[in-house]
Amino acid sequence: MRARYRFLLATLAGLILGAIIHIVIILTIPAFTDRDVYGLLEHTSHDDAPDFISMPESGSGLPWMAHADPAVNLAVCVYDLRKGPYLLSVSGETAFQSVSFHAQKGNVYFAVTDQAQVHGRNEFIIATDNQMAQLVQSGDYDSYYSHTIKVFSPTTKGVIVLRSFTPYPSAKQLSENSAALAECHRLTAQDQLRSQSPELEETIPQDLLPPRRGGI
């Protein structure tokens, strides 16, 4: 009788310990996986020209891309804020465009659609809490970037996803161009200059610009 009681006690202990192991595994997977979305896309980012990379439907290194929406052009920009905040500029010339901001592990912390556009553009500053506080305190934010949306990144590394909707197959080129024209790079002194003199925009070759809306 006593032996049976001990056996049941051991079973109970095993089950409780099993439940603890289960919880520990689930909660620590994000911390121990380096094949997360950032890890898989990190190689697409270069310090000189970190910009949006259009993802092909397959063979992108992201297995689920095979199940992505074929009517959406998906472009990603991988950021690392350790050397400074990022500037993101999206022109939104397609029927529908949205931007989602993902922390290093892939979870969304902010998302916005082209309904938030100002003068046909969506501009964002992505920074950590400290970097943003510095930008605001130094007065740089008010002087140069007051037209941008402040995005506080919970992690120093992350991924920005730009989705450009293609309502008809013939509009595919338009959404690809739109993704190619989107900018995503570390804040530079040039950005301050450009925000002061918008005519610099004119130096972009016209054939690089997507056609006006309504041209579809």
């Binding site: 006593r2 032996a3 001990r6 056996f7 006690l9 051991a10 079973t11 202990a13 095993g14 089950l15 310990l17 099993g18 439940a19 603890i20 192991i21 289960h22 595994i25 689930i26 909660l27 997977i29 994000p30 996986t33 094949r35 997360d36 979305v37 890890g39 898989l40 439907e57 397959s58 992201l62 297995p63 689920w64 095979a66 199940h67 929406d69 074929p70 009517a71 959406v72 998906l74 990603v76 029927a95 529908f96 949205s98 989602s100 901001f101 993902h102 592990k105 892939g106 979870n107 969304v108 912390y109 998302a111 659609t113 309904q115 991924v159 996803v161 989705r163 909707f165 309502p167 008809y168």
Partner: protein
């Protein structure tokens, strides 16, 4: 008395090597508890990480969706799946993905059958409907036959309603070609819903019905 017991013991079969002598020793009990914990712990964790997401599922007809995956309210299981499978979920304000693996009566979807999908969808700025086979490649784009429709392309009737034929053989009107064989599933994506509250209250939304029209052998 002694003789009787010997007779009894010789009649029971020899115990397997992994079973301990009864009563079990403390060492055996500890080893047993640890092994049990490891099997239960790892087994159940791996089981929960199979897709789709285990919690927070909402239903509307044949469609299922997970309203909290694209928000900061994401649960730890979904978080583990998103990380481990390197997914980029749609954000709360961007849109919503709905998945159908059955028709409106709850039967699994087979590529050898003919279905109609219709006839209306509640408000969203754009929507897309895409059919995926369960084999590889998942998105079958054979012979330029279409596997998806967007809300801009669809042909509607006078009331603004629409019907999409899902079958292997060509059909008139809106037609999506099904994969050669096996099961398939449908993903409905609603982009730019009017407000974020709407995605939680999507139970009242009008979503398309999936109706079985017949099967060929």
């Amino acid at each position: 008395m002694l003789i009787r017991q010997e007779v009894f013991q010789s009649s029971i079969p020899k115990r397997p090597f992994w079973l301990p002598a009864w009563p079990p020793s403390i060492e055996w009990l500890v080893l047993y508890a640890l092994l049990l914990a490891l099997i239960i712990g790892f087994g159940s964790a791996l089981w929960m990480l199979r897709t789709p997401y285990p919690f927070g599922k909402e239903h509307n007809g044949p469609w299922v969706y997970w309203p909290e995956i694209g928000s900061s309210d994401i649960d730890p299981y979904a978080m583990a799946i998103v990380t481990q499978k390197a997914r980029l979920p749609l954000g709360v304000n961007e849109g919503l993905e709905l998945l159908a693996t059955t028709d409106s009566t709850g039967r699994a979807l087979y590529a050898s059958c003919h279905y109609t999908l219709g006839n209306s969808i509640s408000q969203a700025r754009y929507w897309t409907i895409t059919v995926y086979g369960t084999g590889t490649p998942a998105f079958h784009n054979v012979n330029a036959a279409r596997a998806n429709f967007t809300s801009s392309e669809i042909v509607r009737n006078e009331q603004g309603a629409f019907t999409i034929n899902l079958s292997r053989d060509a059909a008139s009107g809106n037609w999506i070609k099904l994969p050669k064989s096996g099961k398939f599933f449908i993903v409905l994506r609603l982009y730019d819903l009017p407000t974020t509250e709407d995605r939680v209250g999507l139970g009242q939304y009008r979503l398309p019905e999936i109706t079985l029209q017949g099967c060929s052998s």
